[in-house]
Symmetry: C2
Subunit: 137 residues, 2 copies
Amino acid sequence: MAPPFLIHPIGTVRRQGDRTFIDIDPAFGDGLLGIDGFSHIVVCYWLDRSDTPEARGVLRTHPRANPSNPLTGVFATHSPRRPNPVAISLCRLMSVQGTTLEVDRIDAMDDSPVIDIKCFIPSTRFEKETVRVPDWV
Amino acid sequence: MAPPFLIHPIGTVRRQGDRTFIDIDPAFGDGLLGIDGFSHIVVCYWLDRSDTPEARGVLRTHPRANPSNPLTGVFATHSPRRPNPVAISLCRLMSVQGTTLEVDRIDAMDDSPVIDIKCFIPSTRFEKETVRVPDWV
């Protein structure tokens, strides 16, 4: 078994009333240069409430916690209970103040560890390709 | 400093001629149930060639390794050199054979560790929102 890879948090999700902030650790602040040139960012965060051996052992689930949805492999869902509890959200970047980003919304719970931020560059592929999803979606 | 989070690979990228496969570790095969209902998947993989203290310490870079692009924070790029070398690719799922997925293409190098697969569910938000990117894109 290969040794695990190590993820170090770079920041934290902070919910304040109906606003959502991402506080980047000032040690990583240099990594934000130019981010205000983008309207949208991809936020990768850690589902720390699902970082337990039990939750990480789940391989099948009923999507959206709805028992009437068919039993589905976690890799065919966005379930937080999965072997590596990484989550990805596409967010509109509202403002940048120092090392604090304000975003429009995110599914993350308050205080979730942020592990990466990437710029969002739109693709033209979906203008040409048809996207297909199963009925439960 | 909080302890790091641990990522365990769930599979591997395999390039074969001009085709690209993702071999999921059979121990995680149950997680694929129903994935063939989706035309596209999100593949998260580990940039293992950038998993060095030096590469993980890079916070600013010239995007696309082009010195004429402005110096930019890594969180405003897709650079492989970043604190947590996680990469995300949206792929068309061509076929599923046992625990092997064939995808149309992926930026990943051969033998890159795969850390998560998620179904792709299109969003309607970009029909309503304007996406803005800086000149270097």
